[in-house]
């Protein structure tokens, strides 16, 4: 088939500027292009040509940033072109335009977060989008449920296709252990039990709760330490008041709290190697954070919250544990303590997580799922 994938207007593909959706697309596009003639339509970027063919994939880029502008460009792009199937990413508002411009193409919609919420899209637009697409692929059951809550008519069209991770990159071995020891040495973490947080520093991601958990944790585990990877940090003058808040909490914590600042996507797996326990303290109904797959691929046991889609990738007791009330730092501390007290269990969980990732969360599996949706 002749297939077009329409990325969002926000970030370019390949993910030279990051982005979960962009990473997802880049993970599967090569595999998909082996079976179908694939064109990826995305936004322009100063560092990318407007038009190029890489391997079997055709990239076309139009001005983005602003959704309405981008949408106009999509309409113009489709004017003299025809595709058997058009796969739209995370923009239900785009469906109407695409349907009008391509009345005979099969339409698939991939949903990665809450773009169907009443505040983001008017009901008629949402209903129309649901009606016109053949299938709605979501990154978690939770996202599908949330869409159904508002639009029960979507139920038959929903299908969960979990995302994936670069298994080879995160695989542990002798070289990963070297990097681990080096990073830990550099940051005074040798001999510590490192609790790892990777993500943006915004209130809904819950990093402040995790820092607060370090207080009760100190008594039982004086050799624990918290590493916060991501976001602007403590030494930056123009930090937000939330980051200042975390900094204030970290300053009085009885355990070391280290911030790495922003780490490039190409280097971030090093920190997964350096950690001992991965914690995702998200407070909000998160669709499903990619970091879970990354932690599993790096053989880390996982502590995550019962929010949104995150618990779907946890087999409690086998690759990790679930925190029911992340607003209670005491509960977070208690679960961390449970794991840190049992290094053998942690190791077993990490290994199990790696096996799980190899079975279910490699890009090949995602490619296979998408191919079956397209069939």
């Amino acid at each position: 088939m002749n297939i077009l994938m329409i990325v969002t207007e926000k970030l370019p593909v390949p993910p030279i500027r990051g982005g979960a959706i962009q990473t997802y697309i880049s993970g599967i596009s090569e595999g998909l292009s082996r079976h179908h003639s694939l064109t990826i339509l995305g936004r322009t970027d100063p560092e990318l040509p407007d038009s190029e063919t890489v391997g079997r994939i055709r990239y076309e880029r139009i001005p983005g940033g602003n959704f309405d502008l981008y949408r106009e460009g999509v309409e113009a792009f489709l004017k003299d072109r025809s595709y058997d199937l058009i796969h739209i990413f995370n923009r239900p508002l785009m469906v109407e335009t695409v349907r009008r411009a391509a009345p005979h193409a099969r339409l698939i919609l991939s949903m990665h977060n809450d773009m169907f919420l009443p505040g983001k899209i008017a009901p008629e637009q949402a209903a129309l989008a649901i009606q016109e697409v053949e299938r709605i692929v979501t990154v978690s059951d939770y996202v599908g449920r949330a869409i159904c809550d508002d639009y029960p008519q979507a139920a038959d069209k929903l299908r969960t296709v979990y995302s994936g991770v670069d298994l080879a990159r995160y695989r542990t071995g002798s070289s990963s252990r070297q990097i681990r020891e080096q990073l830990r040495r550099e940051h005074g973490l040798t001999g510590k039990k490192v609790v790892l947080f990777v993500g943006r520093l915004s209130p809904k991601k819950g990093a402040d709760m995790l820092v607060r958990a370090m207080y009760p944790l100190a008594k039982k585990h004086p050799d624990a330490a918290l590493v916060i990877v991501g976001g602007r940090w403590f030494s930056d003058n123009s930090i937000s008041d939330y980051v200042a808040y975390i900094r204030a909490l970290a300053a009085r914590a009885p355990l070391p709290v280290i911030s790495t600042g922003y780490i490039d996507a190409a280097q971030i797996h090093h920190w997964f190697w350096a950690g001992d326990l991965f914690v995702c303290p998200s407070l909000w109904m998160e669709p499903l954070a990619r970091v879970h797959y990354e932690a599993m691929a790096a053989e880390l046991p996982i502590l995550t919250t019962s929010r949104g889609g995150n618990p779907e990738v946890i087999e409690p007791g086998r690759n990790g544990l679930i925190i029911e009330t992340p607003e209670q730092p005491d509960e977070i501390a208690q679960k961390i303590s449970e794991l840190l007290s049992n290094p053998a269990k942690m190791k077993a969980m990490g290994q199990y997580g790696r096996r799980l990732a190899e079975q279910k969360y490699g890009w090949e599996r995602v490619v296979a799922d998408i191919l079956s949706v397209w069939k």
Partner: protein
């Protein structure tokens, strides 16, 4: 020749304002684009932390002001467009001078520059109620004039209209941080004090949020941005000053679509904070003065009270605790600050009650959530996210074509606003269901009628103390009977009207809808929404004066109390 890009050059302005020499050069460049000879250029004030500056220039065309706007050009364009709109409406706002190309602003160094008339201003008195009232009256004029504003092509749409819920949620969340920090840094007396009072302020915030979500706010914002107009966002004694003919308003950099109560609330609460007491006379006086220039309908008035109930002053003064908790908590000024906040707060609630505030107590199991999802807000999100892709043309020549393709989303929102009645008649029920009079707060009684500036004395018998032309003739001016909606056929594709000549003094005609500058790009929905809004405000004013004239009250009392006539 690569141009130097204007970026912040230092900390907040010290004793002597200075600018980098590159900026001086750019100022000269900008000046050369204007048809004027500058004899002298004096730096007046700077914002080194943002990259802004104002000069006074003495020219052969009179004294003028030269200003570099520190925000991004698309954002600044919103304000420049607003300034022009307001001047054309007759507002006391300095007029923009066009350059040699007829543009009302220039781009230089990556920022927008404007030249305006220099108006000699004196601050209103800060120590007496009259000064505050002058400020409020001028503010009302400003808001009234700003209604109907539509930004020019290329401008970023600045709006805070839909943001109240989010703002309240954020304040509530951050107050909980204060508690955690006070508990974590508990070895200071100020921490213990703060811990003792934070629950109370948190509850106030919960109640205000709860009331916001269940009160008039969701319905009010349905009217849309243009109907409400702009708030200044930085109004006070420095930006509202006395000048020729009345109160002038300057520094429009930050204007954004908003409920007008935003500016008024901030002015009142900061004044009350400074005074250390919530003074009813002052509050009534200020609201009354505002109301004379821009009548406040009951729902909006309630919104004003809700916004006052929010513990804004507590939040504003304590929030710096997160940055350097040790310093903050050790600072002796903090102890004094807490004293001051507590003493002021003690007088707040009786005063709000007197004014008619109806604040609902949030239930104990109240979980703060985002509840207000209107279709208007949805497209507003989209609109606010969108920056126009077009770089604002340096040849910006005033309000040109209608807003860019972002419009389809916005017009869906327009269609969501309550449809104007088919026969726009003064007597028809407005689409928005009005809360019956019983639910609206008791009309605040003015005490001694404060001296309001430039208010013509209406005849006591039949008109309330509102500075409007008499109602019947105003409704005629609306010309509702003969109003022909602009349909697709009749909407003109004529060439744009000739650019208005630069104004040296603002037009002083009284404000009426028919006097309001008409624009060819004005959509039917826009005009309808505006006329409906204005009509309702007028009807409200006519039927239910917010501040009854005390002379009428005296008359009524005299009538009630007069001795009974003996039956013959």
């Amino acid at each position: 020749m690569t141009e130097w890009t204007i970026v912040p050059w230092g900390d907040v302005e010290g004793d002597v304002p200075t600018v980098p020499p590159e900026l001086d050069q750019l100022a000269e460049q900008v000046i050369s684009r204007y048809d004027m000879r500058v004899q002298e250029r004096t730096l007046i004030t700077t914002k080194p932390d943002k990259g802004g500056a104002i000069w006074k220039i003495l020219t052969d065309k009179g004294p003028r002001s030269l200003k570099v706007l520190h925000r991004t050009p698309p954002r600044s364009l919103f304000s420049v467009g607003a300034q022009e709109y307001l001047v054309n409406k007759g507002a006391r706002v300095p007029a923009l001078i066009p350059n040699r190309d007829g543009a009302l602003c220039c781009e230089c160094g990556g920022k927008l520059w404007i030249v305006t008339d220099w108006i000699d201003l004196t601050p209103a008195s800060k120590v007496d109620l009259e000064g505050a009232q002058a400020l409020c009256y001028g503010l009302g004029e400003f808001h009234r004039h700003s209604q109907g504003y539509m930004p020019p092509a290329g401008a970023e749409r600045a709006s805070r209209l839909y943001g109240y819920e989010k703002q309240y949620m954020k304040i509530l969340e951050k107050i909980s941080w204060f508690r955690v920090i006070a508990a974590t840094y508990s070895d200071h007396p100020a921490s213990r004090r703060l811990l003792g009072i934070v629950d109370k302020y948190e509850q106030q915030a919960r109640d205000a949020l709860h009331t916001l979500q269940n009160g008039p706010y969701p319905a009010l914002i349905e009217r849309g941005e243009a109907a409400w107009g702009l708030a200044h966002q930085d109004y006070g004694w420095s930006n509202g000053q006395q000048g020729p003919g009345g109160l002038w308003i300057i520094d429009l950099d930050g204007v954004a679509y908003d409920l007008p109560i935003r500016d008024l609330r901030k002015l009142i609460t900061s004044t009350m904070h400074d005074m250390g007491v919530w003074d009813l006379t002052w509050m009534r006086g200020m609201i009354d003065a505002y109301n004379q220039a821009n009548p406040i309908e009951p729902e909006l008035y309630q919104m004003l009270l809700i916004d006052m109930a929010m513990p804004n002053e507590f939040y504003k003064h304590i929030k710096e605790i997160v940055f350097e908790p040790e310093l903050f908590l050790n600072d002796p000024q903090t102890a004094a600050l807490l004293d001051h906040l507590e003493a002021t707060d003690a007088t707040k609630w009786a005063a709000l009650k007197e004014l008619g505030a109806v604040i609902q107590t949030a239930p104990s199991d109240f979980k703060p959530r985002y509840l207000i999802h209107t279709a208007t807000a949805a497209s507003a999100h989209a609109a606010n996210r969108s920056h126009s892709h077009a770089v604002p043309s340096p040849q910006y020549a005033g309000l040109a074509s209608p807003p860019p393709a972002a419009a389809p989303t916005k017009s869906r929102a327009d269609s969501k606003t309550p449809a104007a009645p088919k026969t726009p008649a003064a007597s028809s029920t407005p689409a928005n269901p009005k809360t019956p009079a019983a639910k609206t707060p008791a009309i605040p009684k003015t005490t001694a009628a404060p001296k309001t500036p430039a208010a013509p004395v209406p005849s006591a018998a039949n008109s309330p103390s509102l500075d409007l032309p008499d109602i019947p003739s105003l409704l005629d001016a609306l010309d509702l009977k003969n109003f022909k909606p602009k349909t697709a056929k009749t909407s003109s594709k004529k060439s744009a009207p000739p650019r208005p000549k630069p104004l040296s003094m603002p037009d002083k005609r009284p404000f009426t809808v028919s006097n309001r500058t008409k624009r060819p790009d004005e959509s039917l929905k826009q005009r309808r929404a505006y006329i409906e809004f204005t009509a309702r405000a007028l009807i409200q004013a006519a039927n239910q004066p917010l501040t009854p004239d005390p002379r009428i009250q005296k008359l009524v009392e005299a009538l009630i109390n007069q001795p009974r006539k003996e039956k013959k």
